[in-house]
């Protein structure tokens, strides 16, 4: 046995021989459990890309799986791990490599925290125009891998729309890149989109380049009490009316005994006079209902209560007693969705009324082995009703039994074959995150 207690041929021994220490893998809260029964027990934390490449090569020799981890906020995404491996912590790769304010482009290492990047960009009046949940803990690499959602996607799109280039360490340990540092580029295949949402199963994204936007001059939030399903759907219609350009439009509230309670929240970003006008238009569209409150936001601390709740509901980070379902719906079918949700039962809900995505947070009492019959029945019914209305549902966090009760992705058999071949080409040994995206 080696000094670490591992067998001489183990990955730990091999890494120790090259000067890499391993340590227990113990992310905060229940994050580790979300990887399932095969969650890694130890982690290695390379200091830079060169070290990371060495780790990948050693893992190849030892036939060890690697589980890239950033802020550990999205470990529940996808399927549970198919086999145990070593966690590959990326937090020391945290440099902002290159920020060109004149070009509105930044290149940043994967382990850099989103909040750190935004703070630096804000010094130049710029931002990466997304607002993810878990903004303090989430890392750039993790957000790319997990296709992090954004609360202001209605105006700015998601991270996918801003990703210009990636640097990736492949299963062979080679560092490759795709895309570039220009805002418009069609040279080479789009590997940015391929790695975005791939859960790190096709390679380790070690750095990414993004298009930036100027910080909006004004950020106006309006919120009011949601008075029933009809009012929620009507608000969605008002936000989609010609000439209305919301940054966000959400219903945020609770499902309770066949009732929906909560608030409608809209945000407008742009020139001050413009957002005031947009807000007034929305108020006029809903004349006669409960009055809107409004506030010009000047930072996270000023977020209205409903927006703070949105971040809590949509968080994919550890919650030992809860589960997060992500909803996809056609905005025109919002009334059917709302009816299905009310039949489903209790939970916290947040619906992006403009884009047709949303979140349903459930209490599950931390059950791991099986789902209660009533929850299973409710999930099946909700799933069926959403599908009938052209929508879809998947589980983003929660107990394994619940997550596996719902489909993860929607590839048809022909596409699944392409996906399998892509995996064969890029990671034939299923070195990275085995099983997270299915076979």
């Amino acid at each position: 046995m080696s000094a670490t207690g591992a067998s001489p041929r183990s990955i730990e021994a091999r890494l120790a021989a090259r000067g890499f220490a391993t340590a227990p893998f113990a992310p905060a809260g229940a994050a580790r459990a979300q990887l399932g029964r095969a969650a890694p027990e130890r982690q290695v934390e390379p200091a830079d890309v060169a070290a990371l490449r060495e780790v990948v090569i050693e893992a190849g020799v030892a036939n060890e799986a690697l589980i890239p981890v950033g802020g550990a906020t999205a470990l529940a995404a996808g399927r549970p791990l198919a086999r145990r491996g070593l966690a590959l912590a990326l937090r020391r790769l945290d440099r902002i490599v290159d920020h060109s304010p004149a070009d509105f482009v930044v290149t940043v290492e994967a382990g850099c925290r989103f909040a750190t990047l935004q703070a630096e960009l804000a010094r130049h009046g710029q931002w990466l125009a997304v607002e993810p949940p878990d903004r303090e803990r989430a890392t750039i690499g993790g957000m790319v891998a997990a296709a992090a959602t954004s609360f202001v996607a209605a105006q700015h799109g998601t991270l996918r729309h801003h990703l210009l280039g990636v640097q990736v360490v492949g299963a062979d340990g080679l560092l490759t890149r795709a895309g570039g540092k220009v805002v418009k580029n069609v040279a080479g295949y789009d590997l940015m989109k391929l790695h975005h949402g791939a859960l790190g199963t096709l390679g380790v994204v070690v750095a990414a380049t993004f298009r930036l936007r100027p910080l909006p001059t004004a950020d106006l939030a309006l919120w009011t009490v949601a008075e029933g399903s009809a009012a929620i759907a009507a608000c969605g219609d008002a936000l989609a009316a010609p000439g209305t350009t919301p940054a966000a439009g959400w219903f945020i509230g609770h499902l309770r005994a066949n009732a929906l309670e909560g608030e409608l929240v809209a945000r407008f970003q742009g020139a001050r006079a413009a957002v005031i006008e947009q807000g007034a238009t929305l108020e006029a569209a809903r004349a006669g209902g409960a009055p809107w409150r409004r506030e010009v936001l000047d930072g996270v601390a000023a977020l209205p209560r409903a927006l703070q709740q949105l971040a809590e509901i949509a968080s994919t980070a550890d919650d030992p007693h809860g589960a997060l379902l992500t909803l996809h719906f056609l905005p025109s079918r919002t009334p059917e969705l709302l009816a299905a949700l009310q039949r489903f039962g209790t939970g916290k809900v947040a619906l992006d009324l403009v884009r047709g995505t949303g979140f349903l947070r459930l209490a599950t009492d931390g059950e791991e082995g099986s789902l209660t019959a009533s929850l299973r029945h409710g999930l099946d019914a909700l799933h069926a009703e959403l599908r009938a209305a052209g929508g879809a549902i998947h589980a983003s966090a929660g107990p394994t039994a619940l997550r596996t009760a719902l489909p993860w992705d929607a590839l048809d058999p022909a596409a699944a074959k392409v996906a399998a071949r892509l995996r064969d080409e890029l990671d034939a040994a299923r070195r990275f995150n085995p099983g997270r995206h299915g076979a």
Binding site: F104, R160, R177, G180, T245, E425, H437
Partner: protein, 474 residues
């Protein structure tokens, strides 16, 4: 080779053979690459496309998908031993869901015709390449096409939600769909821009964009190209996001003004900058005030705002028709496409002019300044072998200059056949190997649009005699 089997699949009159019928399909918009295919097949349904592809697989016949043939990088260049699958007959708008802001269309729908059909609904399809009155949406998907309004609205990939694809083995797959944010591998995003090498998209779910409440279009004229570039940088640095920010240089202005597309550009200007602002009235008013101030500060000697829809259309007609107008100068036009970081525009434009002088070529610039996307256009006579050689050399030098300042090989025209051997200038062998492997995953037999995008030695095209293309054997 007998094409009776193909005729049975799509109908006798939908298979073209013989030199005269095949002539229009010998090249796309990049005319100095030509090859005559064995046949051109015109399927009318996705199932027919799939049947044709399966026939190609069974017979080992290479196939090249083609839309309107407006591409400028040789992406739809036929393979001399294969067939062209012409998709123009799949030209129906199948479904428009206005509230959901999505539509399902066939790949042969012409770009501008979709927006025209959406006009009564107050919506449009945002990517608007200069060829939009002819190019098809399927071709736009293949090339990830851009256009003047991509600065604010993004390129094709930002507007495609789902695809029905005939894979290179003839299987039909539905990727994505009208719903936003589904989990799993983003095969839609990966497919867009694959230049017809991953399969044939026959149906598209496209995102629709609401028409802006207000549009204001400005012309700024400069006596100095550098000053115009400075204005571009200032607009971007000041946090203004115009819908479009387009530049024309003196040569282009002169040619446009001497043509039927006359737009009223000042003919004494070294550069004209077109700035279009859109959005709500207060937003546009605020931006307009700042843009005017920046223009004055940058030294514009004339500032003009289009005061009517007709006037705005005229300004744009000159810009979008510039390539056509440049055709008056000489028998052939080579439209180069490269992209640089915006801050490098003044420097690269100086180099481009220097190269043009040294290579003794007629060069004009009309380009998407807001994106740093250059289009140096070289007018030449393809019958003059010496001139052609200088044109090709100049194009190569311009590309290398762009790469040297951190740019890329193509902003929107694609790699195709034209730049496949230049890929090694931008990407390392390991990068290219990854590209080759993902292509192999989609297209394992290599029959779907072979030889494009990536460097290689196998070339199944015929070049015009006397043309010397660096790095390509002929």
């Amino acid at each position: 080779m007998s094409f009776a089997a193909l005729e049975r699949l799509v109908g006798r009159d939908q298979v073209l053979t013989g030199a005269a019928a095949l002539l229009p399909f010998e090249s796309d918009g990049l005319t100095h690459f030509r090859a005559r295919p064995r046949a051109v097949v015109l399927p009318g349904t996705t199932e027919q496309v799939a049947a044709v592809v399966r026939w190609c697989v069974e017979t080992g016949t290479p196939f090249v998908p083609r839309g309107a043939g407006t591409g400028l990088s040789g992406g739809a260049l036929p393979c001399a031993t294969g067939v062209v699958i012409e998709l123009a007959r799949l030209n129906r708008i199948l479904e428009v869901r206005a509230r959901d802001r999505v539509a399902r269309v066939q790949c042969g729908v012409v770009n501008a015709e979709l927006s025209a059909a959406l006009r009564p609904l107050g919506l449009h399809y945002a990517p608007d390449p200069s060829s939009q009155t002819a190019c098809t949406l399927g071709g736009n998907v293949a090339e990830n096409s851009g256009g003047p309004h991509t600065m604010k609205y993004g390129t094709t990939t930002d507007h495609i939600l789902g695809l029905k694809v005939v894979l290179p083995d003839g299987e039909i797959s539905e990727l994505g769909g009208p719903l936003a944010g589904r989990p799993g591998l983003d095969l839609v995003g990966h497919f867009v821009g694959s230049e017809g090498t991953f399969g044939i998209a026959t149906e598209l779910w496209v995102r629709l964009t609401p028409n802006p409440a207000v549009v204001r279009t400005f012309l700024f004229a400069f006596a100095d190209l550098d000053a115009a570039c400075r204005m571009v940088s200032r607009i971007v640095a000041d946090g203004i996001l115009p819908a479009a920010l387009e530049m024309l240089d003196r040569q282009t202005i002169q040619v446009v003004e001497a043509s039927v597309l006359r737009a009223g550009y000042p003919t004494d200007a070294e550069a004209v900058l077109l700035v279009e602002l859109d959005g709500s009235a207060p937003q546009v008013d605020d931006d307009a005030r700042r843009v005017r101030a920046i223009g004055a500060d940058a030294g514009a000697f004339e500032t003009r705002e289009a005061t009517s829809a007709e006037e705005r259309l005229k300004l744009w007609k000159g810009r979008k028709g510039a390539f056509g107008a440049l055709g008056r100068l000489s028998p052939d036009l080579y439209v180069q496409d490269a992209v640089v970081p915006r801050s490098k525009l003044p420097e690269i434009l100086r180099q481009v002019r220097q190269i043009a002088t040294e290579e003794r070529i007629r060069l004009s610039n009309v380009f998407h300044a807001g994106d740093g996307n250059l289009h140096p256009n070289i007018s030449y006579d393809g019958r003059d072998h010496d001139e052609v050689a200088r044109v090709v050399r100049a194009g190569d030098r311009i590309l290398k200059a762009c790469l040297a300042v951190g740019g890329s090989l193509s902003g929107e025209h694609g790699i195709g056949m034209e730049k496949r051997d230049s890929m090694a200038l931008l990407f390392a062998p390991a990068d290219l190997d990854v590209f080759a492997r993902v292509r192999h995953a989609w297209n394992p037999l290599g029959l779907c649009n072979p030889d494009k995008v990536l460097p290689g030695t196998k070339v199944c095209v015929e070049f015009r005699p006397g043309v010397t293309i660096e790095g390509v054997t002929h």
